[in-house]
Amino acid sequence: MTKILSTDFVTVVQKDYLQVLVRGNGTDQFNQIINKEISINPPLKNLEIKSDDKHIFAKNSFDQWSLLYLVEEDYKKILKFIENLNLNDEILASDYSYGQVYFEITGKNKNEFLNKLTNFDLRSKKFPVSTMAQTLIARIDCSIYNLGSKYVITCNKSFEDYFQKRLKDSANLS
């Protein structure tokens, strides 16, 4: 965990989350296969998030799910999970853990802050709690997960330095 910035209005912390990207058809059978591996049910509705203390499980679109592990679990278990899923022809699970970086945004002005970097409509009526979105933030592809009190944003690791700088720059200039 690294604190990227903290002001009276917004705080950004980088986290060491892990992630699996799952592709599949979303049928009952698919859900059963997933359920066999992990207790949490895959969300059924597009953009919906199911989360508990340890996971964010989001449906990104009709054939794609992101499963984030919020506490550094045994990475071996995740690899096993991926391996087991991939035994099924109609599922593709890829490990996204270390190829992506994770930021938590909190604070009362988090919307205004992020809207310096994205035109995405963050208002709760357009982006309700427990939903996710894939959009451009600071000109790069990101996923954003709305957990109510905080947002989790992920992007590719190669952008890590750039994205950190843009976040800090945005907080410094108002």
């Binding site: 953009l47 679109s61 979105a133 894939q134 959009t135 451009l136 592809d141």
Partner: protein
Amino acid sequence: MILIHCPYCGEREQSEFTNGGEAHVIRPKNPEALSDKEWGQYVFYRSNPKGIFHERWVHTHGCKKWFNAVRDTSTDTILKIYKLTDNRPEISEFKSPLKSPSGEPAVGSGNFAVKK
């Protein structure tokens, strides 16, 4: 910048999307059976109407899914968004604002601003 309603992600600015040109162009099943000219038509020729246009979009910076739209190219108004699995909406469903192929719509055009 127009807004496009991605059927999977919701409304986003056009810059998140990539246009894929004319929709419902089907790749020939048996390319070898086609003449050079027929093959060339498939590869290089796409319709380019002023007015009602069935076109493809992909949400490049979002879910990366393709979908279709009906758009009035004379005003950039999006008239309908539909999934690839949906049927092609008939052109008669939409009212073209144009009186001639290269004419201007009464409102929304770039060229005339004064009501006659």
